[in-house]
Symmetry: C2
Subunit: 205 residues, 2 copies
């Protein structure tokens, strides 16, 4: 007559399920993935899964949260660097790596945003919008700080440069996927992005 399992049991189980779910999303994408798939992949019963998550959307959002935490971690590391330009280039190369390696989950995210946005009938600031805004703010702040420290001399507004970067990355992600671009093409396009950023930010060398 007492709680049955120890405290972390459910937490661990949840992580296991999420791990399996991620595999499913990578394999089938967000739209095609079903609860049944997750049940099979995780090797649990229908009832068990539903006691942790209400539906596919719920599962996916939990995975999103995990990834968001990683992003926040990156931003914290940011303060350590001395050269802003070098740091920016490093970050871009990191994105390149994400795009050209395990990018199939990124695609699921795009699917998810597409669907969710249409559902939330043009309504105001949704979860998705908030996520975007956070990223925009992070990049904008970074550029502003670099400018303040006289390391950048931008000829365009920092916010628009941030938006421009994000657009480019989103597009590159989709096109890389659709075209099955070899790594070299991604590399070259990233080089072009860096070239254009150098023209806009005019960093000290």
């Amino acid at each position: 007559m007492s709680p049955k399992v120890n405290d972390n049991y459910k937490i661990n189980k949840k992580q296991e399920i999420l791990k399996a779910a991620r595999k499913v999303f990578i394999k089938k994408g967000y739209i095609q993935a079903t609860m049944q798939d997750i049940i099979n992949e995780a090797g649990i019963s229908r009832g068990a899964l539903y006691s942790y998550f209400n539906n596919v959307e719920h599962v996916f959002e939990e995975l999103l949260k995990l990834d968001d935490e990683k992003d926040i971690t990156f931003i914290k590391i940011a303060d350590d660097y001395t050269s802003f330009w070098k740091q920016l280039v490093d970050w871009i190369r990191l994105q390149k790596h994400i795009i050209s390696s395990n990018n199939e989950f990124l695609l699921s995210k795009i699917e998810f945003f597409l669907i969710k946005h249409r559902e939330s009938n043009k309504s105001s600031s949704s979860y998705i919008t908030e996520r975007y805004k956070n990223l925009i703010t992070a990049i904008t702040d970074f550029i502003d700080k670099g400018t303040e420290k006289k390391q950048f001399h931008p000829c365009k507004s920092s916010e628009f440069i941030a938006l421009y970067m994000i657009s480019f990355f989103d597009g590159l992600t989709i096109d890389t996927f659709n075209l099955n671009l070899e790594l070299t093409r991604v590399n070259e396009q990233i080089d072009i992005l860096i070239f254009t950023l150098e023209n806009m930010l005019r960093p000290i060398k």
Copy 2:
């Protein structure tokens, strides 16, 4: 005892159905759209619809073909212009208009490509890939011709500049949709694209 309707009857009817289908895709997106939706929107019966199209995918592909014909129009206009730079800028501004206007249909295309690509298990040159290649070729050829006529002095390969442009547009399309960007933001980002292209192509003035 002879064919019942005149020759254009079926052609017209097909157009009507496609018109209704387009509305459905704009409203619900490719993934959420069903044959039932098209039946309702077109005000016809299940049997009638199926006598023209086998499934949603089929309907969508027919719509794509219509749009492709419009794209070809752009390429033909090309020869008339004298200033290559001006022509390029004009074309870009046209894309801006497409992105920021009520063209939710573009989003359906992105959904469609996402799904289709995953289905065609990394297989070789699909219809989608062909479409992309055509666009890349068109832009690349244009830049090369401009370079040949000494109107451009590019510092990056024309092919990569083309890929870069396409990535940017695809990303801007998605982000504009997801963020409900006001027109001004799109304008500013397009300006940045033009700025960066000027740096890369170095056109005569």
